[in-house]
Assembly symmetry: C2
Homo-oligomer: 552 residues x 2
């Protein structure tokens, strides 16, 4: 529309509806989502200090974005991927939509390893049942844009709101909201106009075009990646290939002057850890152990993708009208030795990683850049959670009261990142914030942001995630409020309490010293989980649900 | 745009550019392409009489379209699929773009069985070389929208013209223009905004959702169909599933009032012959042999798809502004006993079928319906060929002089089907056309249509198509002009001449009686093939190209 309106700009003939209808007043929105990307895997230091682990990877483009936009220092995701992704689309808390575990490619196939008889892993037969707990009831077919699909959460997709309001909606990369054989598996049914590669697959079989990204006779699995046939046999990696596709897909709405929403959903940096040849050697040369170097090279490839997109927006002249939201779907993977020789250490100083409700599993990188609205480089410590994105992105698109069949659980963070960051900037200008620590501690009052800075953050993992038992991962639930975090270890029937301000690494359990706080938080967690009807494991011995934390 | 313009209709505020920009004056175009669909496989009788074979299948929706639009009684395609499809996209004659054979999924893999060392068939090792001829030089990687790709024809895609002129372009179904690893494999690179299922695959592995359309571990091949995961395990057949996707994809441009181009490219009714349960029994009950009943059920499923699309256009209120072009990519398959117990008879009275330059291989069903412009139910006998579609569809979209890197070989048939059909209607109204035979004989002069009714039609097959030798298929070239058709049998070094008016079945070779006509047509064929640099086989004994028909 821009091109057409130009000759008439300022003329009285310019009708308000003409702009409105074509959305020239609406910003473009890019949601740049990285998979399994940890809080420490970046030059951007989200913490109140720069930790040693912040020096591992070169991420110049994330740095560049952080200097333009705002850094969310307390952004949370779910412990694993599907729940975050479905929550982003439904606006419901994962425990509310009853999806705290990942969906299998196959329909009707619970993936939690607590008594299942089917599965999609080739080693499914070797699965161990948990001795104590049986599987909770949950929506193992994912979310659904249509009612009546068994074991799904019916909901009005966030992206459909955008599409219905004039946005050109592009899906690139990983979807993983639902199992095949259900409508939720297809981005086209979620409101996307374009889809490249999105379906039930939660990870790629291969990052390499020389492997056809997994599309090879005799090797094919449900993790083979669709829609990238033009790159087969070339030296493009998956991250580069889908970035290419994203750039091309933006051309059409840019040419037409239509606002667009790009869901740039990288498979990287999920396993398999396949090094990117252009970067790998550099990290070896820098002395990283082999597996870390492999992973670092994948991170830098994703960083390059971000840079290419930002460059493209500049080149096309739309950067000033394009919001970029940067986020990860869960904490960095740290369970095994895929990334370094010592398991459970990759996210230090955070405890644990993907799968866990400890901070390493749920605290994730996040940035928001809204040209002209967010104050450059500011740090915002109010917690943000997956359900917040639905109302936030709708608000960015001018949809203030989205109509949904489901109840939304989040709050828009638009005022937080706009007015809130301007407030922070004022504090910087006035000398009230002088360093990173003070910036991280700066509180944006609810009167400005609409969000209580001490709001409750619930992380819920009522499943056994993987075949091997993981005490710090399986059957946990947690609630954070302000500095305090309560962790409910269901297997042990135990409540732990940590003060995150003093003890970010959650090593010093102070539950015994603070019974009142434990009781309050346990009540808050239990009340909310009951209200949502959150999945809870079943105690095999009694056939009853595991008690809520306030029922112990 | 419609919804927005409505309250202002008639008001002086209605600016011309507002309509122009949004294309409300441009018709939607649906290209309904059926695969391997023969001239006789329909209730619509394209010939000058109704043949027994026209009674085999129920095609009520094709009948419905034929009564609204015009019937092209001399529509030609290439003998096989890829050449027709690439020609539709490039506007070049298949022999000119040097693609007279189908492209393999794999790059750099000629599919003609004359000395090749690689291939994608599992039985490639059992391939027989031809004793006499070696493979011609040809573009076995297909067409390419980018220059410099080895063994491709570089061209500006037809669909890109539409997209660049405001059309919302939707690809549903089979593409098959190029091999994987080249840009031509992706509909997104051809100008399509939406792609469902299109890539290098030329046929489905399975028509059944219960087989996941071929996407199953241990069974996967390059013929597995992408992008239909939501139907896996259901009872939707492939034809129904992609029709569903097409209906959904039209919603967006219809809602926005943007003109759209829907390339509805069915895999049906290509092999494998997988019966559609809802129709199969009916044909058995009608006494068809089992294989014919299977095929008939597939045809009726495609007919149902056409009906669903027409109904949807009605329901959405856009039928009056939507052109429908109906076409097949080659003649019906008749080589083996896949469809009935007697090979080579399925297209009677036409000789032979898919693969051959005899009429059964190249004469195909075609209809065009342009509401308000084509005269209902008229029959047009001027020949139409694949390269004609590029300028025709561009003209329909208001693009009168498309800029291309390639030389276009066709003529727009827009005036032929509009002014030409109105002329035929006048003749009907005046009693000059009283029956089907007279309608088929009615000549539309070049002064009206812009196309010589006796134009030249060249069909070229310089390859061995399949593993088994087929004398009436392999290494043939033909030219038709008016009633006369010359067939060059390269293996024999022989020229045949048929009078199609008297001998539609090409059984009575009259070459010996008409040496002058043979000479003229041989010169025309030879001259044109030389001009295009058409692929010709190599004589193994001499290492030289097979002589042109006028060099014998």
């Amino acid at each position: 529309m821009k091109k057409i309106i130009k000759p008439l700009a300022g003329a009285s003939l310019l009708l308000p509806w003409a702009i409105q209808a074509n959305g020239a007043d609406k910003p473009n929105i890019i949601f740049f989502l990285v998979d399994d990307y940890g809080w420490l895997d970046s030059e951007v230091a989200y913490g109140e200090e720069v930790y040693p682990n912040n020096h591992r990877m070169h991420t110049p483009n994330m740095k560049r974005l952080s200097e333009k936009g705002v850094i969310m220092t307390n952004a949370y995701a779910c412990p694993i991927s599907t729940p975050t992704r479905t929550s982003l689309m439904s606006g419901m808390h994962a425990a509310h939509e009853k999806i705290n575990m990942f969906t299998a490619p196959e329909i009707n196939t619970p993936t939690d390893f607590t008594g299942g008889t089917r599965g999609f892993f080739t080693d499914a037969s070797s699965r161990e049942n948990d001795d104590i707990f049986a599987r909770p009831e949950w929506n193992y077919n994912g979310i659904s844009p249509e009612p009546g699909v068994p074991h799904t959460q019916y909901m009005t997709p966030m992206v459909k709101q955008l599409r219905d309001n004039g946005y050109y909606t592009i899906h690139i990369g990983k979807a993983h909201w639902a199992s095949m054989g259900t409508p939720g598996v297809s981005p086209y049914n979620m409101g996307f106009i374009v889809n490249v590669a999105g379906n039930m697959a939660g990870m790629p079989r291969s990052y390499y075009a020389e492997d056809n990204f997994g599309n090879q006779p005799d090797k094919w699995t449900y993790s083979a990646i669709n829609d990238l046939e033009e790159y087969y046999g070339s030296d493009k990696n998956l991250t580069q290939a889908i970035t290419d596709k994203a750039l091309k897909a933006m051309d059409y709405p840019i040419e037409k002057g239509e606002p667009f929403y790009l869901y740039m959903s990288h498979f990287g940096v999920h396993t398999p850890i396949h090094p990117e040849p252009q970067y790998y050697q550099k990290y070896l040369d820098a002395g990283q152990e082999e597996k870390t170097a492999m992973y670092s090279s994948m991170v830098e490839s994703v960083d390059e993708s971000l840079g290419q997109i930002m460059d493209y927006l500049d080149k096309k002249g739309v950067a000033d009208n394009t919001i970029i939201v940067f986020y990860s779907d869960n904490g960095g993977h740290s369970l095994n030795d895929a990334k370094n020789s010592v398991p459970h250490t990759f996210n230090e100083p955070l405890r644990e990683g993907k799968g866990s409700v400890y901070e390493g599993g749920v605290r994730v990188p996040m940035m928001v850049y809204w040209p002209g609205k967010t104050a450059a480089g500011m740090r915002i410590n109010t917690p943000v959670t997956p359900p917040d994105f639905y109302p936030s992105i709708c608000e960015m698109a001018g949809i203030t009261d989205p109509k949904t069949v489901q109840e939304l659980d989040g709050k828009s963070f638009v005022k937080l990142v706009t007015d809130g960051s301007q407030l922070a900037k004022k504090a910087v200008d006035e000398g009230k914030i002088k360093n990173q620590k003070e910036a991280n501690a700066f509180v944006i009052p609810q009167s400005v942001s609409g969000i209580d800075p001490d709001r409750t953050v619930i992380s819920h993992m009522p499943h056994q995630w993987r075949i091997e038992d993981q005490d710090d991962v399986d059957f946990l639930s947690a609630v954070r409020k302000g500095d305090w975090k309560l962790v409910y270890r269901m297997h042990d029937g135990k409540l732990e309490l940590y003060n995150l301000r003093k003890d970010l690494s959650e090593r010093n359990d102070v539950a015994a010293k603070n019974p009142k706080i434990v009781k309050e938080l346990a009540k808050e967690l239990g009340t909310t989980l009951r209200k949502w009807g959150a999945p809870m494991p079943v105690v095999k011995a009694t056939g009853k649900l595991v008690p809520m934390p306030d029922e112990l």
